[in-house]
Symmetry: C2
């Protein structure tokens, strides 16, 4: 069952996918666990264990794993069992950057639109619409949006969060550097852009190794 994948492994899968896509683009057919481990800075045994969990075809001795097949497996695992719609609340610099980011499709996520209070921000970015906040409930309902990305300034984060919850959004990815309080049942994941950078700076980097 797909639920049998540990948290630690699940965190690494996207890394493999990205790496393998690079190899595929280079025209490489096979890749060994040792090569992956060296390049990604983790252990070969760990790589094999992780891949064993999602790979449909076994690795071939003396060759390694077939890149194309692994990519397919990873994409299936990472994006298969869902096709979620998301909205962005806050069309400032970060919000607009995410609106034009093209990496979400890989994970089965469709960013529907962005919202902002400021009339100046309303319009479109990268072909995606930016609506005034009032229209949030309507759009959420119509598109069955379950996930919201919060990219407003710290001061308006809680208010925007409340609006999202009222509109029926059940999971929020919060980029504002504040703690949000939400009603029972709503999931929040905080993401602070400074954190990975800080980890990188640490002498003892807390890498995802």
């Amino acid at each position: 069952m797909s639920g049998a994948i540990s948290k630690a492994t699940a965190r690494r899968l996207p890394m493999y996918l990205r790496y393998l896509k690079g190899k595929a683009a280079d025209g490489q057919e096979y890749v060994s666990s040792a090569a992956i481990a060296t390049d990604l800075g983790c252990s070969a045994v760990g790589v094999r264990k992780d891949l064993a969990l999602i790979s449909s075809a076994p690795g071939k001795p003396r060759f390694g794993f077939e890149v194309k097949s692994l990519v397919a497996d990873l994409e299936r695992y990472l994006g298969y069992h869902r096709f979620a719609s998301a909205v962005i609340v806050g069309a400032g610099g970060l919000g607009r950057a995410m609106l034009s980011y093209d990496g979400f499709e890989n994970y089965g996520i469709r960013v529907v639109a962005a919202f902002d209070n400021s009339p100046a921000k309303v319009g479109a970015v990268a072909g995606k619409p930016v609506y005034p906040m009032e229209r949030l409930p309507e759009i959420v309902k119509r598109n069955h949006v379950e996930v919201g990305i919060l990219t407003v300034p710290r001061s308006s984060a809680q208010a925007a969060c409340d609006e999202m919850v009222r509109a029926g959004i059940g999971a929020i990815l919060n980029f504002a550097p504040v703690y949000l309080s939400v009603p029972e049942g709503v999931r929040v994941k905080c993401e602070d852009l400074a954190v990975p950078l800080a980890q990188l700076c640490e002498g003892l980097a807390v890498s995802d190794k």
Copy 2:
């Protein structure tokens, strides 16, 4: 010694800091491990263990921990033993958003400037300068920059990365969805904005619990 903090704990510290700052802003003097755990969705025992590692003052039975003191301890731990300078390469949407992001100071990181190939992007954002790529080595050297944030499109990522390495940058935070190859000794940490979102979408969220 400060090196005795486990990776798992180190990953959680920023979360505590943010949460506690919120409480401090609300004027709350004390907070119990149980309250933190409930709000943050983790276990109270874990919270106590984590805090024990960085807290200078012990928690008070019947009250909990002193918020102000914990904030000070966390800030000291997270940002004290370094003061790193960073640059941003790629002044597109994400790059500019990060240039105007004010959360880096909390972690002892100073973003010095951004760089871009396109003359149209050169100028200033949020009071920080945007230089043409040619000036990267000079600025890096002058400011002793050790860390670079890579926010260019996928296609130019490797080239930009190479330039950063040549300029003397030893650690790179990569936001482009590609695998970068770097010489021995250079650290790379990849950050894909879609990943946390994907985790949030998963039925079995891989939260940082």
